[in-house]
Symmetry: C2
Subunit: 147 residues, 2 copies
Amino acid sequence: MDANRDALLVQLDQQLCFKLYAASRLMVKAYRPLLDDMGITYPQYLVLMVLWESESALTVGDLGERLILDSGTLTPLLKRMELNGLLRRQRSDEDERQVRVSVTKAGKALQVKAIDWVKRSSSQLHSEDLDVAALQTQLKGLLKMLG
Amino acid sequence: MDANRDALLVQLDQQLCFKLYAASRLMVKAYRPLLDDMGITYPQYLVLMVLWESESALTVGDLGERLILDSGTLTPLLKRMELNGLLRRQRSDEDERQVRVSVTKAGKALQVKAIDWVKRSSSQLHSEDLDVAALQTQLKGLLKMLG
DNA sequence: TCATTTTACATTGTGCACAATATAATTGCG
DNA sequence: CGCAATTATATTGTGCACAATGTAAAATGA
């Protein structure tokens, strides 16, 4: 009957969105050892990665654009990181609306830990059911469409 | 130099985890119209999907196993849904540690809205950069490995 | 110029996530 | 049986996400 066929459309196992949601959380959980060692959370790790890549200071808006997060999320997160000595926040002189965020020595120092951990654990992500490169490509396509 | 090559390992664009994190949030955002219409959140939608599939009541543990969520997340979430009349929570008679969760008429009624919306909007998810079926297969492999 | 609009960030309030811990019921074992 | 271990859920505390709103600075333009 049609009603049964329709019901398949809202079955959990059919949902791309649920797989992404579950995979995202499980992946973050896999980072736990590193994050605990660094003394930060996953979103904070993302902020650090963006800062590590940048030569100079970035505005809150820059970070938000890169991480797809708004000031409601970033402002308190950055304040916590500043409190922990990982970065500096200072109002821009040219444009007082902007807040310029720059990584401190302590924040930069964590990059070594991260690199070391990634080197040691990247080999874990292998199985016959999984082609990581293909998955990344597919996700890039999805993000392009959703963004 | 080696330090520069190492730095690539912690670049945002290289991170499978970030792509999953971003894609997950953007996908949930795409469900906003449906969720607003149903008057629920995405995690609540997931709970409803599991309940819709089940003939009988499920325990909190059953839901947690299916959604990979613990009681710290589920208990308050289920209480809110009960308050909104979408489900019932009752201590099991056989085992008083368990709480049995069952969908109400109001909760069941929302399935129609969901099916209708999915029917109308599933065609949106198409582009040349994206093979949804392949992505689902890859994610299933990833989840199997992470789970 | 100066009022209007836009922009950048901050604040508030709600609802997850999840680690850690607590509590009470059930199970297992000597 | 009696009690230690296990199990199922609840509670507490912290930190995101994000919608909605506030605020002040900068850009715009008649």
